[in-house]
Symmetry: C2
Amino acid sequence: MRYSKDHKAETHDRIVKNASVRLRERGAASLGVSELMKEAGLTHGGFYAHFASRDALISEAFAHAMQQTTGRWRKRAEQLPEDKRLASIVNGYLSAEHRDDVGNGCALPSLGVEVSRASPKTRKAFASKLEDMIAMLAEQSPDLPAKTARREAIAVIATIMGAMILARAAGTGEFSDEILSAGRQAALRGENAAKPRTKKPKARTEA
Amino acid sequence: MRYSKDHKAETHDRIVKNASVRLRERGAASLGVSELMKEAGLTHGGFYAHFASRDALISEAFAHAMQQTTGRWRKRAEQLPEDKRLASIVNGYLSAEHRDDVGNGCALPSLGVEVSRASPKTRKAFASKLEDMIAMLAEQSPDLPAKTARREAIAVIATIMGAMILARAAGTGEFSDEILSAGRQAALRGENAAKPRTKKPKARTEA
DNA sequence: TGTACATCAGTGAACGCGCGTTCACTGATGTAC
DNA sequence: TGTACATCAGTGAACGCGCGTTCACTGATGTAC
């Protein structure tokens, strides 16, 4: 078979995107070449027309997951009025929907630990994306001194990511919901303390 | 060779303890039977005199890591005067020493994600130990209503665990230290807000 | 326009390697007499 | 107390299986003429 000129790139993309979902769902160690090719509707032998090795695919899939994550944060921040951004990010992040959709969710809770066990090169790539996220969040607090806003942003990310990991480990029951709720409240406490008074926020879950 | 009556139990323990360190360092997928036996000074064939399978060892090693973790939290809490416990736990947790000693450190940041991918049985065991930790921390805020103290405890655990994961992924440089510092401050903010005023706490790292 | 050839994404059998697991065996020590 | 036997933690070769990787091949389509 021979296909249109974009065909190969499309197949490549399809494999990478699917791998990045599986990567978040189950971790790098459990990704098999045969399985991933089958999921892309191909046989395992063709894999090496697209990637130099299994590790090369995993690198690409990892990069894709990180990029998708930062892209979504950015999009979400841009779509909302300034004073609601942080609350929207936190509430959307610590929602049951996000908890139950590991494969398409933020890469931090699913891949953060794996990064700490990975090569310095992967760690560098991760640190750079994490810096992007911190900067994005810090921008949502323009009335705070830059250093304070940055520290605040780091704390919010640590809290929502940590709460997400605990909530997922706890399953999908009451305990898990309780963790999400406690995380939302804690992550938004900094904002409420620093910002000028508005109505008490009582937001719950959302998409 | 035949040994004294405790010998088998001692060997069993040695294998489990070492496996629980390796488990935290590198995750379950990378634990090999041969390697673990070699590290215990034995050959791989003897493994099945101690464990029914590789999975059985991993279960034991996981349980050991969780138990060691809750044991240490308890010990640390008991050794200190009431009003310094939370600060001591947080500062000790988010220290460079703890960051750099994954194998002997808290099981939450190293194994939490793995738990979310594990069997319901493992998740139950994890949830139960997590409840212990929450209860332990909540006890450190006796002047708060029980429900509030519990919510606060969950938030603190999520924050310090999340910060530890990010700090480890970021390596051991300035950025990593900054994450630890931001985490310490955020985790102790709740306490400072809720408790009666004392001197400003300025604690940094410790063992 | 029609024909011959080149291309190359994808196929599927095969390979080698490492890993979990099994098993016949060892030999130092506890126990029975 | 001394001797014969039973025990069983540990040894190391061997097994089967799955996985990443290789490779000769296919065949539909693009290109040259």
